[in-house]
Assembly symmetry: D2
Homo-oligomer: 135 residues x 4
């Protein structure tokens, strides 16, 4: 996987659990933070998508946990977008701490009309911006 | 405080933190669970309120933490509703584990119109049901 | 998949997001709730495992989202345990609302010594109880 | 209140609820983020406290919600520490968006020995650093 985008998160105390590590469900939240930061570079990003009456649903998510993250760790969440076809797209993620791989994952998404909840194409402006960013 | 209603929650692993106890922010979520269970006894409860175009906002919240709750603890969240005046009402809470007091708190709420976000009176049917439940 | 165990969760208001549905990360929390309820039938369950100095780590997780869950929905989380080999085991999940399939998923886990964090076999008592429950 | 420290948070999609605003319990998480950032300026901050065998418990928390925060809002969380006496201290908070006050609150804390859970004085180095930062 070739990642051209990264965002930073810091492990919050509220995100840790009684094993003393970041709880495994939180990675999906970090993936979302990365996804939104990724899209924020393009026009109005995800808020703009929502303003255009489009919601992006998560249809599938996967995480492989390689090593634990701990309280106050500064993490890099790399992400890339691809497989854009019609209403659907995919994100890949890698979570690192100082170059050490802690987790990797991916998610599938579908654009739907916010009112009818019917699938709707990813807007052309977003397709073009992502294609340009990933090429 | 005289509590006539109680609900049960069990401490989820995801709700614990690296101190090995339930994270302090989670109590506000449990209070909300208790509030919604409390209201569920009356007509359609909180979902009915929302269906009538009314949202109940939280305007103030307070928690005193007396003793920690731990993973898998079975907790009793007692709650009572009062001080209903116009659009406003108040809930009081007590969190217990086998009779031991772990936390107490309260929250203030205001009903608003879901569209205009203007304050709107607590519906008469709900006022009557709460008055009857608490008397 | 043949599920012989199920637990109930109710969608909390805190678990919804601005799309008006349960946030996709919450499913991993519900899977965990189901897993812990599943194990609770055997001796002391997951708390007993921890008391024996064993932590069960989540090494992989997957969710397919089929239809949204909404505030106050009463969900059934079915789960089954299998593929127990040495330190490792797997859980499968199905989330239903009145028989409608909302999500399915699975997770992989590994037992480690709580102190050394080295892999350690799933205790024999638990292997036997699970084998008996699933057969 | 005179705030000399501020930190930034951005409202995550996972932090919103079905009212389309940041869920009220999340403010306690943001307060904690601010508190930890505040302490991070002093020697090793909160992780250093924990490394010295001291846990800081939250004993009381209060939030007044003045106006809602929405998805992707960039918030400033101002905070100040005071009332340090023996094992106890207090934090005050103000959450702003572009100068608009969204919420204010405070929390009380107590230092305890991580092993015995008995109250233990706030370390002298931390007292001095906070006194110097707040004066």
């Amino acid at each position: 996987m070739d990642f051209r985008f990264a965002t930073e998160v810091r492990v919050r105390f509220a995100e840790t659990d009684a094993q003393g590590v970041a709880h495994h469900a939180v990675y999906l939240v970090w993936f979302e933070v990365a996804r939104i930061d990724y899209l924020a570079r393009f026009r109005g990003g995800y808020p703009e998508l929502r303003a255009e009456g489009i919601e992006a649903l998560t249809t599938e998510a996967h995480v492989s946990y390689l090593a634990p993250a701990r309280f106050d760790d500064r993490l890099t969440v790399l992400c890339a977008c691809g497989e854009l076809r019609g209403a659907r797209f995919r994100f890949d993620y890698l979570v690192e701490r100082n170059g050490e791989r802690l987790a990797e994952g991916w998610s599938h998404h579908a654009c739907v009309d916010a009112v009818t909840h019917r699938p709707t194409r990813v807007p052309a402006w977003l397709l073009e911006e992502i294609a340009s960013a990933e090429s």
